[in-house]
Amino acid sequence: MDLPDPAQIAEGRALLAGNDHVAVGLVVDKDGRWETFSVPFTTQTRKVTLNFVELHIVNDGARTGDIGGRTAGFDIWVREGAETVLQHHSFGDINNFPIDDDPDPGEETEAHISLAAQGCTPVTHLTPVVNKDNHDIGILVRGLCKHTLGNNEPSANYFPASEFPDLVPTPEGAKFRFPIGREGESVVGEPLVVTAKPEVTGNEFEFTVTTNVTVEYL
């Protein structure tokens, strides 16, 4: 909790946006005379905008025996709370979409993939009343890269990567950490970077997704 005066002491939790509250004040003088007041108020409404920036191929998962260039398909889900999906972007093609963790000159977009160019349009979400069930906003990502021999290789920032995350709660590492307090609760373009790792030990396909998060209170 933010306070206007250094002489004041903060205790307890932050307030949730869009909720009705009551503030009760008590002043007491040195003789024990006292006066009270109460103020009903409503915290401002939270608006979150997610701009998808880049998917970075950290390791394209190449194995001995793979023939030709690496290819993959990707999914990005925006989660509100544990399981509610606000948006799902799907792009790439496991047979034709090129990826490379060490691209040749002129082919850098195979390592640093613009998400806007892949149709990942921004998501704007207004939460009228924030509660513990809808407070968190998270990004889940999954990729599947092709192998010439053996099974194709999934990678995700949730477990198990071999499944779509329908029943997987949003992991802590996938959630945006909302700042709180008078000076810092609103942010513009704060990066949220999530990392997808392979499910199987020994596999190497790994990538990050960067999303810029803007939080406003209206």
Partner: protein, 195 residues
């Protein structure tokens, strides 16, 4: 001001006797936060913190018959005082050296009021007392604003005061032992000076 580890009964002390120096008593109950011996500190106002010896006669009883697990002690208060208690588990923490970090496992603040000292601001100017008498109201002005995750309250008083502010939703209100409505969770407290 309920806390599973630290509680006071009553959490607002009402002194019935208006004689200066008269006291009323609150009783503190602490419960160890972990397996270690609890570390309890206390202070009046903004004085230095003092460690509470967790042995009889200071500890008057214990639900577990072990003051290292839980215990009760009482504190007499005169009207106008405020009293704070903190509970730590680390014996090396001295809140005088590090007031806010690390956070205590629990903290409570108890105000002491003169039972007959409630001031209701006068409505009409003719109700105001003559010059030289105590101010008819403590609160000269107040203002507030809020964002999405915070609330700010400013109060200007006519004399130096302690200032307590509790914020919660309406469902957080509970009846205390005196039958007064209070908020169960303290979010903000305190300012002990004039503004």
């Amino acid at each position: 001001m309920a806390n599973p580890l630290l509680s006071a009964s009553p959490d607002i002390v009402l002194v019935a006797d208006p004689t200066p120096g008269a006291t009323a008593t609150t009783e503190i109950h602490y419960i160890a936060a972990g397996s270690g011996r609890p570390q309890v500190w206390e202070r009046f106002g903004l004085q230095n913190w003092s460690r509470v010896p967790l042995v009889p006669p200071k500890i008057i009883r214990s639900d577990s018959n072990d003051p290292d697990i839980d215990g009760y002690f009482s504190k007499p208060m005169t009207a106008g005082q405020f009293y704070q208690v903190r509970l730590y588990h680390d014996p090396d923490i001295n809140p005088n050296d590090h007031p806010d970090e690390p956070r205590s496992d629990a903290e409570i603040t108890i105000a002491s009021l003169l039972k007959s000292g409630r001031i209701t601001p006068p409505i009409a100017s003719q109700d105001r007392p003559p010059p030289g008498s105590p101010p008819a109201t403590l609160i000269a002005s107040k203002d507030n604003n809020q964002g999405g995750t915070w609330y700010r309250q400013t109060v200007t008083t006519t004399v130096p005061t302690h200032f307590f502010l509790q914020v919660g939703s309406e469902r957080d209100f509970v009846l205390n032992a005196e039958g007064n409505q209070v908020l169960e969770t303290v979010l903000l407290a305190t300012n002990d000076g004039p503004e």
